[in-house]
Amino acid sequence: MNKLDKQFEEMMKEIKIDSPSSDFTFKVMSRIQAEAAVQKPHLLLDYKPVISKRTWIILVAAFILIMTYITLSASGSSPASTSTFWSTISGSLNSLKSNEVTSLWQKGLGIFSSIPPIAYMILIATLALWTLDSFLQQIRHNHSKV
């Protein structure tokens, strides 16, 4: 920097810097807070349910099929034989009518014990996913109100 530059720099230091309005920071921060509030729900708006409706139908259908199969196989009948299945059901109802609660309870326990552990795991996992899905939907609903 030569002498002239140095002199000019000294001169320039005399200039006072301009100031914005006194509430400048407040104005900027208000806009930024609003911006931040918009950005967060934006993420939730992009949310898609963990389990789609189609998957839910497939899951329910699979669950019914598994339960039917297990019920039929527990009663020692062929799954193909529908009449036997209904006879098992009516048999159960008859036993209920005759107040044989104890034997029905035992029968019920027998059915449940014959269900393989994997079926329970599927059931628990499905319930967990359903709970999570409902929870996220609730959050999205609350944010859309803001």
């Binding site: 400048f24 930024i32 911006e35």
Partner: protein
Amino acid sequence: MNKTEDLYYIEAVRKGNVQAFSYLVEKYQKLVYTLALKLLKRPEDAEELAQDTFIKAYQKLDSYEGKSKFSTWLYSITYNAGISELRKRRIEFKSLEDQRLSDQDEMKMHDYYSETKKEDQEKYLNLALGKLPEDDQVLVTLYYYENQSMDDISEITGLTVSNIKVKIHRARKKMYSLLHEMLNEEVYSLL
């Protein structure tokens, strides 16, 4: 300017502490506003541009890599927004007559200027600065007032270092020439 301090607050904002951004607004608002005012002239426009600069900086904070100073990055946002606003308005940069003083005249001019009253010095200096083209005002402010390096100014404005050197040199000559005119007028008015 403490770069580490800036980075600390930037990191806090990135982690979700929005309020931490107010530190950066407080720290840089005056110079961002000054640059905006030099470009747009009207205080209300400058205030709006300065606000928009900070909002844009907040939105783009993730893209700030920390390679340059935060102030350099921030001023480049201000400068680019200001220039594009000027282009929108189709305001052409005023060109001054290429009236130059020799280096010797500049020396004399400076001595004469130094003898002028303090309050008059500031008045004339502001007037002379205000008569420079908008982009030159920004360069002079950044270089002489904010002590930004040529490389930083190059990053802010997108101009080459050699171009900036030439522009600043010319701006200084122009300012001296304008001061010369103004001070001469003052002398004549006294006679």
